[in-house]
């Protein structure tokens, strides 16, 4: 089973067993290292394979699956971009930006209201908002689709943005509220004495103080919106409005697929998120850690 079984934690101060401990530690390190490297390889290799296969021609892809491209067809990436990925990419950027901005604005306002005020029915509102976290989006799929059609929003950017914002808000509010609660109140109190009203406190104290959590919320909401598939599949039909995940599916023809181009498209759409994650790891991690456990 797990390599943990192979070793035994031995207290350092028992000098008679230091040598044995050393050997065991080395063995433990070695086994774990092999195990984790294999796992890491299982993750990295397919992604590299994806990017490389995106440079192959169809026959090269089928006949020499494992080898490097015979001819490095950078044109595949360009072809994928021109075949729609470019447009889908921009759509994704637009939908994600607007949704995230709305989530941050509305979410921070609500979180402020829920963390700094006391009013009747507050707990009910809180429970209502937070229970939005649990609901499966499938349940809303058909009614939302009819609703959007009824509102005349079906097949517009709004058909994606509004549901995205609504479904991302509960988690954002939850994260921001717990963070705002931990912001010391002394500052505000003195501000109030200075004559600030609640809007000013929100804008000049809470928002600047809450920046770290707002950044984390932006990243998490952005990631969810960027990757969302089901709503994007059902709520828009024009290719001019399609986001990347659905656009990728559409690129795949039934009778005749150029796999090189398809894989290039996949690589193009996977990359921004991987890069964003590696660059902003700290904020990602903070969001996760704040959201997962209390405090």
């Amino acid at each position: 089973m797990e390599p943990l079984v192979n070793t035994e934690k031995v207290a350092e101060f028992r000098s008679s067993r230091v040598n044995l401990t050393l050997v065991k530690n080395r063995l433990f390190q070695f086994v774990v290292f092999i195990w984790f490297s294999v796992f890491a390889l299982l993750i990295i290799y397919p992604i590299i394979w994806l990017a490389l296969s995106g440079l192959k021609s169809n026959s090269d892809f089928f006949l020499n699956t494992w080898s490097l491209p015979k001819e490095w067809l950078w044109s595949n990436y360009k072809a994928a971009w021109d075949a729609g990925i470019g447009k889908f990419f921009l759509n994704s950027v637009l939908v994600t930006l607007v949704s995230v901005m709305a989530v941050l604005l509305l979410g921070s306002m609500a979180a402020f209201g829920l963390s700094r005020f006391h009013f009747k029915g507050q707990n009910l509102v809180l429970v209502l908002i937070l229970s939005g976290l649990m609901l499966a989006p499938q349940v809303s799929l058909i009614p939302l689709f009819k609703l959007l059609q009824g509102l005349g929003l079906y097949n517009t950017y709004w058909a994606l943005i509004l549901p995205y914002v609504a479904f991302q808000l509960p988690f954002a509010i939850f994260l921001m509220r717990s963070y705002f609660l931990s912001i010391p109140r002394e500052l505000e109190e003195s501000a109030i004495i200075d004559g600030c009203n609640s809007w000013k406190v929100y804008w000049h104290i809470i928002i600047p103080m809450g920046k770290p959590i707002i950044a984390s919320c932006a990243l998490l909401a952005g990631m969810n919106v960027w990757n969302e598939f089901m709503f994007a599949l059902v709520f828009v039909e024009d290719s001019a409005l399609r986001t990347i995940p659905v656009g990728l599916m559409n690129l795949r023809s039934q009778l005749n697929t150029n796999f090189g181009i398809q894989l290039a498209g996949l690589a193009i759409s996977a990359l921004p998120m991987i890069i964003a994650y590696i660059l902003f790891q700290k904020q990602f991690v903070r969001g996760l850690s704040a959201g997962s456990v209390k405090g």
Partner: protein
């Protein structure tokens, strides 16, 4: 102060709203032009340019009309079309398969009756091969205009056939012998990519037609009277299952898609494959003359007409809600004009339903021959998955994979088909 902040927020939000709506598509007439929304199913870079060009030409000739073109790929459009038809902005002209797929929209009064327009312009009507208009009719009225005339044929690798001294089989028994010879020689006789199960359903389309008499089959394919009790349905499925049992199909048919399987055929890893006429151009590009084709062989004791060919036209229906039926027809006429049909054949190698457009000068020799074969055929067996009610099709589609991986028998599947057909019957009334 307070109000100012509120205002700022509202402004920011309003800007956001405005920023978005201005970039979303506008559907209203601009500068008094008639705007037609046109939906087809070929977004792939290979085909989309053809439609873009035709639309551009049309707009040049008709400056008062603007075409707003949309494309949704093959699989998704099967779901999307229904959704779109229920929406507020139904395209004026939209793609449809023929047969039940189109008739379902006719029943829901979503498709415009095109008969008067065709009768008004007999030259246009007569330019079509009659067999290509027929599948788009319901109760004697025309509801669709075909763009392509698609048929299904077996293509084979000539070198492999020569190696074993094989001829194109004309009967099912000869076909089986051919496959057996290939198998014994260590070849993969049949290439099939059935990840998307329409591929095997196309086999069954022809087999059903050949095994079941025409009247019975037409009655069963009609959602209002479908029973599927004829033993021919089981027999048809058994023929398909036998091909699999005898090991004539390649391995793992359910996990390769049709396009992947085709790559195997191109690489010479199999002898025969069942493909559509529209794929012939691709075939020739990759096989470079090393290929031939034959229709599904006849079955000696089959009750259906053995001179049918599997295939169907596909094309366009016009929405009953359109505000501009005249302009829509005008565009369809342009799309199916001789000139554009020749272009269709030449540029993307598709078989055209316009009589004479697909000839050896414009098209690949094989495509022209294929269209000729379809013209000579006594009828068409339309795709089973678009020719029966969606729910019946769904039973066929999902079970055909289980037939091929051996977990269900033909009898079991037909029983399910019968059950669902009964249910459909009660709902369609």
């Amino acid at each position: 102060m307070k109000t100012k902040l509120v205002l700022t927020f509202m402004l920011v939000f309003a800007l956001l709203l405005a920023g978005c709506s201005s970039s979303s598509s506008t559907k209203e007439d601009e500068s008094g032009k008639v705007v037609l929304k046109f939906l087809h199913k070929w977004p792939q870079p290979e085909y989309a340019p053809y439609f873009e060009e035709v639309v551009k030409d049309f707009e040049k000739q008709n400056p008062n009309i603007k075409i707003k073109m949309e494309a949704i790929a093959d699989e998704p459009i099967k779901d999307k079309l229904r959704v779109i038809l229920g929406g507020n902005e139904v395209p004026d002209i939209m793609f449809s398969w023929s047969g039940e797929f189109a008739r379902k929209f006719v029943r829901a009064n979503a498709a415009l009756d095109l008969t008067p327009y065709l009768n008004e312009d007999t030259a246009w009507k007569n330019s079509f091969i009659p067999a290509s208009l027929q599948p788009f009719t319901s109760d004697g009225k025309n509801y669709g205009i075909p763009l392509r005339f698609n048929g299904k044929f077996f293509v084979y690798n000539k070198k492999i056939f020569e190696k074993y001294n094989l001829q194109e089989p004309a009967t099912w028994d000869e076909f089986l012998q051919t496959l057996d010879t290939l198998k014994k020689g260590g070849e993969t006789p049949l290439i099939l990519g059935n990840q998307d199960p329409w591929a095997a359903i196309h086999y069954l389309t022809g087999l059903n037609q050949k095994e079941v008499s025409q009247d019975v089959r037409m009655k069963d394919y009609n959602p209002g009277s479908g029973e599927f009790t004829d033993p021919g349905y089981v027999k048809a499925m058994e023929l398909l299952a036998d091909l699999n049992k005898k090991g004539y199909f390649m391995k793992n048919v359910n996990s390769s898609s049709h396009d992947m399987a085709k790559q195997l055929f191109f690489a010479g890893k199999g002898a025969i494959m069942y493909v559509e006429l529209e794929e012939f151009a691709d075939m020739d590009k990759n096989m470079k003359g090393n290929w031939g084709f034959f229709p599904m062989p006849s079955i000696a004791d089959g009750k259906g007409n053995q001179n049918f060919i599997t295939g169907a036209p596909d094309g366009f229906i016009v929405s009953s809600k359109t505000k501009h039926p005249k302009e829509a027809i005008q565009f369809l006429k342009f799309l199916t004009s001789k000139e554009n049909s020749l272009k269709l054949v030449k540029e993307i190698g598709w078989p055209s339903p316009i009589d004479g457009a697909t000839n050896p000068d414009t098209a690949l020799k094989e495509v022209a021959e294929g269209v000729e074969a379809m013209k000579k055929a006594e009828g068409m067996a339309e795709w089973l998955d678009t020719d029966v009610h969606a729910k019946v099709a769904d039973v066929y589609l999902s079970n055909i994979q289980l037939l091929l991986d051996g977990s269900k028998t033909p009898e079991q599947i037909i029983k399910e088909v019968q059950k669902v057909a009964k249910q459909v019957q009660s709902e369609v009334e």
